[in-house]
């Protein structure tokens, strides 16, 4: 009966802590490190091959790889790792030599490839593939300006596809945002697609998108957890040092409640993420576990920064405080992890074999 991270979690986290400490806005607000240098470092560290297909010898497994992402969150590091790992994960889940080659090229650092999933949350109509032409607009694609290749999600009729597109064939437009993240809108204006560049269709494409998306969300939640740990530490320290009414404000139960609120939400995010990683590493689809995780992690991203602002009050509102750096990061996490259909998914799963009712097979892993 265990609920822990993977065997290599701590070892990876230790290395990641030292790597990201040198590339953190919490240490250097100006962020002098170039994205190309970050990419080079990821290749050298082997982190672009960190987690791979379940059951394969490729990668460390999500529950261990999370060690890197937790530390990335703890440092608020602006690494392109999640975007590149997402694309590689997608390619690994497509059964074709062309996709395998792309996965290898991402892992070796030969090409900068990012995924452009079907995502209607921004209110844009889905990208469409018709008569060998790709048409439409996708939003909030991270690190797309550096990309050599895009793996684009589109609909062909009503069937999902995964399409390989040269970045030079699409328009890329920066989307300035609160978190100052490198997010881009992608416009495809009847981009010609060769038959061999349609890497997957129908059920195979849908499954590749879904599983790689869930795995990416676990890693995103791991970042929320890491950031939350650091924010909690900063908030508890502040509550112990800031004196008002003749003593530290942390002795007031109202302030203690705010701090425990952060601890609870952050810890729950970790617990949910560990469970989702465990199920995914075991080859399960983790539809329920990831829906529950996203719901929690999205809420945590917001609740933790609001509670931290309340404790820090006026001092936290000033830019010389670090609190706003967490708040900026959290806004992206809030929406990236919020899927309006998750509550429907959770209810649909209830009572199924993987549901939360007591007679459930997955409980044997307790």
């Amino acid at each position: 009966m265990e609920l822990t991270w993977g065997e290599d979690f701590e070892a990876l986290a230790q290395v990641a802590r030292s790597v990201f400490a040198k590339d953190s806005p919490l240490v250097d607000r100006e962020g002098a490190v170039d994205e190309r240098d970050r990419h080079r470092q990821l290749v050298e560290l082997g982190w672009l091959q960190l987690h791979g297909a379940p059951g394969s010898s490729d990668g460390a497994g999500l529950a261990s790889a999370a060690g890197v992402f937790v530390e990335m969150g703890r440092a608020l590091a602006p690494s392109p790792l999640p975007a590149l790992a997402r694309a590689r994960d997608l390619a690994l889940r497509i059964d074709s030599p062309a996709a395998a080659d792309l996965a290898e090229r991402i892992g070796d650092g030969e090409e900068w490839i990012v995924a452009v999933p079907l995502d209607e949350r921004w209110g844009e109509a889905p990208m469409r593939l018709e008569s060998g032409r790709l048409e439409g607009r996708a939003m909030a694609v991270p690190h797309a300006a550096r990309a050599d290749v895009l793996l684009v999600g589109a609909l062909e009729g009503d069937r999902p596809v995964v399409v390989r597109v040269d970045a030079g064939d699409v328009e890329v437009e920066l989307m300035p945002n609160l978190g100052e993240r490198p997010l881009f809108a992608i416009r495809c204006d009847r981009v010609e697609v060769r038959p061999e560049d349609v890497l997957a269709r129908g059920e195979a494409a849908a499954r590749a998108w879904a599983v790689s998306g869930r795995r990416a969300d676990v890693m995103l939640a791991a970042q929320v957890y890491g950031a939350g740990l650091r924010l909690l530490d900063a908030t508890v320290t502040f509550a112990g040092q800031r004196h008002q009414f003749g003593g530290p404000i942390g002795r007031f139960q109202a302030v203690q409640y705010l701090c425990t609120d952060i601890a609870i939400d952050v810890h729950l995010t970790s617990a949910y993420a560990r469970e989702a990683a465990r199920v995914l590493d075991a080859g399960g689809d983790a539809e329920l576990e990831v829906a529950l995780l996203r719901r929690q992690a999205s809420r945590t991203a917001q609740s933790m920064v609001h509670a931290a602002h309340e404790v820090h009050a006026g001092l936290g509102f000033m830019l010389e405080s670090d609190v706003h750096l967490f708040t900026k990061a959290a806004k992206y996490w809030q929406f990236e992890l919020h899927h309006p259909t998750d509550e429907h998914t959770i209810v649909t799963c209830l009572g199924a074999e993987t549901g939360v009712e007591v007679p459930r097979e997955s409980e044997v892993a307790l």
Partner: protein, 386 residues
């Protein structure tokens, strides 16, 4: 004392099935404890009989050392057992003996006491009532006033205990009494025979449908060996029994079954699942169950591995307390206005049980209020100043 063998997933699965088979064979649904804190004579007699059947199988004290009447099994197996018992609302009685008294005895009892008292709990021969709370010492247990004074080979105990559950049906009272000033070092634990001269119980009905008593101890004389462990160590024993048992009360298992019943009901009524807010509420309930189950797994796993739980397990304790009434409130919101109808009402849903669950959810102060658990998490878990 030999260490219990750590079970793998297959062993746990087989164990869960063994418990489940027993419960299906031995527990008719209408005899479950799922409508009231029902301690009427007939139901109580049935509960005692049922608990003795569990005792005969060695399920009470599953993790205790064999030499003290226990099963020598792992905490994981115990958690699986408790989950199944809670999922079935099994009418187990003597929880004070099973957890508080046994935890105290294991933490500090003398060898003789462990060999004498623990097997009697495991065999369901002695039923314990709890004598911690006092009229002026609830959450602030350290301020209790009941006094124990040594006179020759006896202790003389005088004071008043409040909200003693199952007092009239119990054999002995677990008494925390002051033997000196102060909290640490000032409190000692005694086992008091409830038939002793000077013990008076005044039963009162509670909102959950059960009975709790005001217990008066008027110069009650007990033998020296009624002191459990050492003089003045009571506070440590209580804390260890409450916080370091490596066991989590699986209220979530009962909630999971209730949720399954609620979902089935919603699915049986056309349009109910699609009504505004229903899916969000059901997802909230599912998240509460999921969170508690994961945290229980974490606490039990930490205990077995000898790890100190994160924040001393404080988050699990807080959420179990805070979720209990929240779960009932959201549950009733999904069920709608019929949730207020009592058992036996012609139009009641789910046998009227939700009405009782709602009342019972206000008993989440037992063992420490949510606010106290928050304070413990803040100060002991996070290190905030007191």
């Amino acid at each position: 004392m030999t260490q219990p063998k750590q079970p793998d997933a297959e062993m746990l699965s087989a164990w869960r099935q063994e418990v489940r088979d027993f419960l299906e064979a031995e527990l008719p649904p209408d005899r479950a404890f799922n409508t009231e804190f029902d301690d009427g004579p007939e139901q109580w007699a049935y509960a005692v009989e049922f608990s003795r059947k569990c005792a005969a199988r060695g399920w009470i004290g599953l993790t205790w050392p064999v030499e003290y009447g226990g099963g020598g099994r792992s905490a994981a197996e115990n958690q699986v057992l408790l989950e199944e018992l809670y999922a079935a609302d099994a009418p187990m009685v003597n929880s004070v003996g099973w957890f508080l008294a046994a935890g105290t005895l294991l933490a500090g009892g003398s060898e003789e006491q462990k060999r004498e008292l623990l097997p009697r709990i495991a065999r369901m021969e002695t039923i314990w009532a709890e004598g911690l709370t006092e009229p002026e010492a609830g959450s602030d247990l350290g301020s209790l006033r009941t006094r124990a004074v040594r006179e020759g080979d006896e202790w003389v105990i005088t004071g008043q205990k409040a909200y003693t559950s199952w007092g009239p049906m119990s054999d002995v009272l677990y008494v925390a009494a002051r033997t000196a000033e102060g909290t640490r070092g000032g409190i000692s634990i005694f086992v008091v025979d409830l038939s002793s001269p000077g013990v008076t119980l005044h039963p009162m009905r509670n909102f959950g449908g059960g009975v709790q008593s005001s217990t008066y101890l008027d110069a009650v004389r007990v033998p020296a060996e009624a002191l459990i462990g050492e003089v003045g160590r009571g506070w440590d024993y209580i804390m260890r029994a409450f916080y370091a048992s490596g066991t989590v009360e699986p209220i979530y298992a009962s909630q999971a079954r209730r949720l399954a019943e609620l979902v089935s009901y919603c699915r049986s009524v056309p349009g109910r699942l699609e009504a505004p807010g229903i899916e969000a509420d059901l997802a909230e309930l599912a998240a509460m169950v999921h969170a508690q189950r994961l945290l229980a797994r974490e606490v039990v796993g930490d205990g077995m591995a000898g790890r100190r739980p994160t924040y001393d397990g404080g988050i699990q304790q807080v959420l179990a307390k805070e979720y209990e009434p929240l779960f009932a409130q959201i549950y009733d919101r999904v069920l709608g206005p019929r949730s207020q109808l009592t058992a036996g009402a012609p139009d009641a849903l789910l046998g009227g049980r939700p009405e009782a669950w709602y009342r019972q959810s206000f008993a989440n102060h037992a063992g420490g209020t949510p606010q106290v658990k928050r304070m413990v998490l803040a100060t002991r878990g996070l290190g905030l100043p007191r």
